[in-house]
């Protein structure tokens, strides 16, 4: 079951645009994650695929058939909601069976499917309980079981883990992933959590500002973000974006953050003014005296295996650097910041500038 979006648009009140020109292809059996900050329209997009929200323009295709005018039930899909949408007055078993009964399947088929689904999510022993007697994770599993029990091959999930605590979220992430693989579901998963997207997705769609920013595999998106937003959205701590200029003397030379840092490239810098993205682990920090220093430490966070150093360059730009192991700096201690080999370049509009050579910096 493949899903395609063709130039989908959504307006509210024929005024406010929520989504513009969204196109994407989701292959059968794929784990497709839509990610973006809250308010970016990702839930709306999911609801448009489900048929809960009409689209203003464009087409939604399921198995190459336009389904714009099909009601949700005719689209043969299931949906897992952020708050699980469980019926509080029904037992776990009845909740899972609800949709099957609504579709008027025969009794033994329902019995079989519900039992199987509950088994898949390890809830067999809770089947007689009411939702309020379950923990958050268990409720989430009931919602999953509902999707499992259905014969639909497309499953839509709307931030299904956001109500769980951190530990449980990691565990459920794996369970959902395993389930999707086992059942061969085509899964479209909406989240605002980039870690979820990175760890689970076959493909990620990044949404922001009513637009699709990028669609790609997790590594693609991390390594070759289409723009500053995508680069900033993925990776913790956040990528450092610093203003840079082509040196007037040497077009291979790049001056970053006023003239705190200079870097020589393998090829000519394509534009005079640009912005450089440096992942925190690509920054190196060393102690130095105040004459040599190009930055001062603000504070450090020790995470066990690595340390994050927050510092302010002389230019006033703030940076984050990740250093493995434990290092200790005093506040206002002068440091020297240097840059490693992996850099991203963005023009003033925030779009990434691809350079022809892989390794951009002289090692």
């Amino acid at each position: 079951m493949s899903i395609s979006l063709r130039n989908v648009r959504k307006d509210y009140d024929s005024q406010t645009e929520v989504l513009k020109d969204v196109s994407a292809d989701v292959q059968t059996g794929e784990f497709f994650v839509i990610v973006g900050p809250s308010g970016c329209g990702k839930s709306t997009l999911l609801r448009m695929i489900a048929g809960l929200t009409p689209i203003t323009d464009g087409d939604v295709l399921i198995n190459d058939k336009v389904v714009n005018d099909l009601p949700p039930k005719a689209r043969k899909l299931t949906m897992v909601f952020q708050n699980y949408a469980l019926y509080p007055f029904q037992t776990v078993w009845d909740n899972v069976a609800f949709g099957l009964k609504a579709r008027k399947l025969n009794q033994s088929d329902i019995q079989h499917r519900v039992d199987h689904a509950l088994e898949m999510v390890n809830l067999t022993e809770f089947s007689k309980r009411k939702p309020r007697e379950l923990s958050g994770g268990q409720r989430q599993r009931v919602a999953l079981a509902r999707a499992v029990a259905s014969d639909a091959e497309i499953c839509l999930m709307d931030e299904p883990l956001s109500n769980l605590d951190a530990q449980l979220r990691i565990k459920m992430r794996q369970e959902i992933y395993n389930l999707q693989r086992k059942l061969g579901l085509t899964l479209i998963y909406v989240t605002h959590d980039q870690v979820e997207a990175m760890t689970m997705a076959d493909h990620i769609m990044v949404l922001n500002d009513q637009h699709v920013q990028q669609i790609g595999t997790p590594s693609d998106i991390y390594q070759h973000p289409a723009n500053e937003f995508v680069a900033q959205f993925f990776g913790t701590p956040q990528i450092n974006i610093l203003p840079a200029k082509r040196s007037s003397e040497n077009d291979h030379l790049l001056t970053i953050a006023s003239d705190d840092i200079e870097i020589a490239l393998n090829e000519a810098v394509p534009v005079a003014e640009l912005r450089v993205g440096v992942r925190p682990d690509q920054l190196r920090v060393s102690r130095t005296d105040s004459v040599e220093s190009n930055a001062v430490v603000k504070n450090t966070e020790f995470l066990g295996d690595e340390t994050i150093v927050y510092a302010t360059l002389n230019s006033g730009d703030n940076i984050r650097a990740v250093i493995s192991g434990q290092v200790s700096f005093r506040a206002y201690e002068p440091i020297k910041v240097t840059i490693g080999s992996n850099l991203l370049f963005f023009n003033n509009q925030g779009q990434r500038i691809a350079l022809s050579k892989e390794e951009v910096v002289h090692a």
């Binding site: 809960l52 929200t53 009409p54 952020q82 708050n83 109500n163």
Partner: protein, 320 residues
């Protein structure tokens, strides 16, 4: 507002306005729109029909009748414009009814609220077996007008009544409870307050119990006495409920009929001839539909004003 809505942080009530529910609201332009219209007729049809026939149409008919004179058999015959209203508002008799009703309504509301607060305050103490007292205090909610009237008519009966016996025992002067104009009003007020008390108590108790305990804990750490807590925490915190109960009591007071009919029949000498009883008497005793219709409209205006105030204030959710 009293009880915080029982929502999990995750639930998106249909009423809220954030992103997801906006998405839900967009069902408004869902392509099943045409079908929704058809369902709307089915779901709303019965109620609309009933309200139309028994609420809206009669209001217009009442307005119509009030502009005419009606004959012996209640048919409107002569158009007189606002004459019926002018007659009413210049008649000492009707103004007396208005005044009497105001006195009754205000007294009933004030006394009910104060007594309800007293009962609720005592019943919210944490004592063993307090549940029994709560149940008993709310008992008058189950009393209908005619039962209340019977109980109190016996109590107020001039010759064999309970109060007359008590005054005899205590050698107090006999009071003409239902025969003296002033005392008849007092008797009707007492009975109404008694009838209202259970409901008012229950609502106020519910409101008091939903005041967060931490407020009292904080106050008692700062050394506030129970009385201080009552006036500076409880009452301000339950003020929306107090307002709500007052308005309800007020509106119900304006609509009082049963007790008047059963206890005093508007007498003695019109001392308890309140608005609804007058409407009834003018229409169904004297057969003067036109005048009764005009009175009905005046009553409607009064009640509409108070209901509007209620809506407005509740809408703003004025708290403290």
């Amino acid at each position: 507002m009293l009880k915080s809505p029982a929502t999990h942080s995750s639930t998106t009530p249909l009423a809220s306005n954030d992103e997801t529910s906006k998405a839900t609201k967009s069902r408004s332009d869902f392509w099943l729109n045409a079908k929704d219209k058809y369902y709307a007729w089915i779901f709303l049809g019965p109620s609309l029909l009933i309200l139309g026939v028994f609420i809206f149409y009669p209001m217009l008919k009442t307005l119509y009748l009030s502009l005419f004179l009606t004959n012996t058999v209640g048919k409107p015959t002569v158009f007189v414009g606002l004459a019926n209203y002018i007659n009413l508002l210049t008649s000492a008799d009707y103004l007396n009814s208005l005044a009497v009703t105001m006195v009754y309504v205000l007294a009933v509301t004030a006394i009910t609220i104060v007594l309800g607060l007293v009962l609720a305050n005592f019943a919210s103490k944490q004592l063993a077996g307090i549940g029994i007292f709560r149940t008993l205090f709310s008992a008058t909610m189950g009393v209908s007008v005619s039962v209340a009237a019977i109980f109190w008519l016996f109590i107020f009966n001039p010759s064999t009544g309970f109060l007359s016996l008590v005054s005899t025992w205590l050698h107090l002067p006999q009071i003409g409870w239902l025969t003296d104009p002033t005392w008849a009003m007092v008797a009707v007020i007492i009975t109404t307050v008694w009838m209202n008390l259970g409901f008012t108590f229950l609502i106020l108790l519910g409101a008091m119990q939903s005041v967060p305990t931490t407020l009292y804990e904080a106050a008692s750490i700062e050394g506030a006495t129970p009385r201080y807590q009552l006036f500076h925490i409880t009452i301000p915190m339950i003020s929306p409920t107090l307002f709500f109960v007052s308005i309800i009591t007020l509106i119900e007071g304006f609509k009082s009929f049963g007790l008047i009919d059963l206890m005093t029949k508007g007498g003695p000498t019109n001392a308890t001839n309140m608005l609804v009883y007058r409407i009834y008497k003018d229409a169904f005793y004297s057969g003067n539909y036109a005048q009764a219709s005009a009175e009905s409209l005046i009553l409607t205006v009064i009640i509409a004003i108070f209901t509007l105030i209620q809506f407005k204030v509740l809408e703003k959710r004025v708290n403290y």
